[in-house]
């Protein structure tokens, strides 16, 4: 279980995240919803260890294997296949696992395509394919379906659900889609101006 207590994240003097007490149970899925600037990304970055709280404590992150999808994932200047393979451990099954991940997000046929020539939605699919190769206990996704077209969202949601289920991982994701929140999450956390509204 991850427990945040009396968390404050300040940028200069401005409070960008303030959480009195928040818990994330193991193996559960949580959707973070709220308007732009409400603190969703800050909370995910805090849980990923990218930023530190100005005040308060986070317990339960020690020893958790992390998979994190930032809002703007970076694509290395190499073909799609190599970009996905970056996340794979060296093993004889490597190639098969990479191909499975590419197929799962509907990017088969793009393996040799240079990643820098992909569209925004295609980049996001490749970024998700890469993540599927990480065996994680804690999965943090920052707006995973935002750049993906409406038809593709259902497929990606199913891939994420399957991945989290197989790993028995805790999923925390930021979204603007209530439909995705209802579909993937056991609980919805609403943030407003950096403060928790309802759980």
């Amino acid at each position: 279980m991850i427990e945040l207590s009396r968390i404050k994240v300040l940028r200069k003097v401005r409070l960008i995240l303030g959480l009195d007490n928040m818990r994330f149970e193991d193996g559960q899925s949580y959707a973070l919803v709220g308007e732009n600037g409400s603190g969703k990304t800050t909370l995910l970055r805090l849980l990923a260890g990218i930023i530190q709280p100005s005040e308060g404590k986070i317990k339960g992150l020690e020893g958790q294997k992390l998979a994190y999808l930032p809002q703007k994932p970076y694509m290395f200047r190499m073909p799609v296949w190599q970009n996905v393979a970056l996340a794979a451990k060296e093993s004889p099954d490597n190639a098969e696992l990479v191909q499975q991940a590419i197929n799962a997000v509907g990017m088969q046929g793009y393996e040799k395509q240079e990643a820098e020539k992909l569209s925004g939605g295609e980049v996001q699919r490749v970024a998700i394919a890469r993540l599927l190769l990480v065996k994680a206990d804690l999965v943090l996704l920052d707006e995973p379906i935002a750049p993906i077209d409406v038809r593709g969202r259902e497929q990606i949601d199913a891939v994420i659900a399957d991945y989290v289920h197989k790993n028995g991982a805790t999923l925390i994701f930021a979204t603007h889609s209530l439909e995705q929140a209802m579909k993937l999450a056991d609980q919805v956390v609403k943030l407003e101006d950096g403060l928790q509204q309802t759980v």
């Binding site: 970055r45 990923a48 970076y74 290395f76 993540l131």
Partner: protein, 225 residues
Amino acid sequence: MQEVLYQLFGPNPELREIIGLTLVMSVLSTVISAAIGIPLGTWLGLTAFKGKKTWLKVNSTLMGLPPVLVGLLVFLLLSHSGPLGKLSLLFSLPAMVIAQVILISPIITGMTANLIALNANAINETCLGLGIRPGKKLVLVLQDFKRDYLLNILAGFGRSIAEVGAVQMVGGNIQYKTRVMTTAIMMETNMGQFEKALALGLVLLVIAFVVNFAVQSIRPRISND
């Protein structure tokens, strides 16, 4: 024009030797500066640490160092009474290379740090999210930005080949030893030998054009952040 071609391809090898020495000095200076500036700039761009802003500000200041000041400092360092006087490097090619490395390294470091910083958040967060270790991340970044690094290296080479103040002071413009194109142009102009100065200027212009053409043809990476 005929005189220019005669100076370049005629029986007197001096001009060709000047061009050769200039290229050796510039290539050496640029290679050493790149070996310092590329890894240092990449590390500075990727890593967040206390005092980074100060470091970058100092580097920015060093990017605009007056060549004559560098020349003076290296001169004092290498002169017989200076701390490195025993090496007897003053008025030699190594002295000119040292001065140029001091001038060019901050340029390559600063340009590299700025370039990497544009993409640093996306790279760091992506690598963290995929469990990619820092060593592998550095290798990936070095591979990923090789075209952009070349751009920075060529900019350093351009600065090196056109520099005159520092190499004049520590090289001394000695015939067949430390005379390079820029110092030779200055000398020939002062002596009224305009044909020779023009021939050298023309070669310098061609090299500058080739370097510039190469720089323009390299497509820089667009920021991911």
